[in-house]
Symmetry: C2
C-alpha cells in the first residue's frame, strides 16, 4: 500500500483497461491530465491542458470522455457553489468521500473528510432504505481569513 490517501498514478487508465474501454490517443491525454491535476478542473481547463499533450483533442471529446468517466463512477462532478459561472468541476473519485467548502469572498476551495459524514450516509441508507451511489456535500460561506 504505497499511497494511502490518493490512488496510484496511471490508475485511471488501468481501470479503463480492466473494463475493456478502448484507449485512444486523446483519452490517454485527458486521463493523464485528470490523474496529475493538483486542483479541480473545469471542462475548458481540462481541454487546454489535454491539448498540450495532444493538440488534436477536441472540446466535444473532452465532454464525451467526462461523461464516460462519470458513468463509470471514476470521477465526481462538482459545482463548487458556482463560484465562477455555471460550469462544473471534476475530480478523480478517491477512496474517501469529502466535503467541499467554497469561500464566497476569496473563492478558495477547501476539502474536509469527516467520519460524521460517513455516519450520516449510513443513516440515510438505513432509515430511508436508499442505496447511495453518489453523494455531494457542498458548503458556501466564509473561510477563517475572510470571516475576520
Amino acid at each position: 500500500m504505497p499511497l494511502p490517501q490518493t490512488e496510484m498514478p496511471g490508475r485511471l487508465q488501468a481501470y479503463c483497461a480492466e473494463r475493456g474501454i478502448r484507449m485512444t490517443q486523446q483519452r490517454r491525454a485527458i486521463l493523464r491530465v485528470m490523474e496529475t491535476a493538483s486542483k479541480h478542473l473545469d471542462a475548458a481547463q481540462l481541454l487546454r491542458k489535454a491539448q498540450k499533450l495532444d493538440a488534436s483533442v477536441d472540446r466535444s471529446t473532452v465532454y464525451r470522455t467526462l461523461r464516460l468517466l462519470k458513468r463509470q463512477g471514476l470521477i465526481d462532478e462538482l459545482d463548487l457553489m458556482h463560484i465562477h459561472g455555471e460550469g462544473h468541476y471534476y475530480e478523480r473519485k478517491l477512496n474517501r468521500d469529502h466535503i467541499h467548502m467554497a469561500c464566497l469572498r476569496c473563492g478558495k476551495i477547501m476539502e474536509f473528510v469527516s467520519d460524521i459524514f460517513e455516519k450520516l450516509k449510513g443513516q440515510v441508507e438505513k432509515d430511508c432504505r436508499f442505496r447511495i451511489v453518489v453523494s455531494r456535500l457542498e458548503i458556501g460561506g466564509y473561510c477563517a481569513n475572510c470571516s475576520k
Copy 2:
C-alpha cells in the same frame, strides 16, 4: 404555532415587505407560485405557472426574481443530481435544512431531515473555522422500490 413543518402561506411576500423590497404584479405572481408549489420547480416551470397568474411575466423577470430571493436567503437552489438536464431547481428555505435524495432509476426526489447533518455542519464550522452560509447535500442512488 399553527404550521410546524412549513411556513405560513403568503410568508414570502411578508418577508419582502419587511425588507422594503418593492412588490410588483409580476413578483406577486412568482412568489405565489413558489409559496404554493408542491414540488421543486425549475425556472421554466416557474415561468409557465407564473404566466397563468399574470400573462405578462417574462423569462428574464423570473431569473431576476430568483436571483433576488437567493440573495435574500429566502430560497435554496438545487441541482437534484441533474436528473433532468443541466438546470436548477428552487424551493423556499424552511426552518430546517434537509438532504435531497434523487433516485437514478425512477427520478423520485426524497427529502430527509437529520440531526447528524446538523452535527456535521457544526463540526465543519468548528474544525475548519468556516462560517457556513449555505449548504447543499444531494445524494444520487436507488430508492427502496428501485433497489429490488
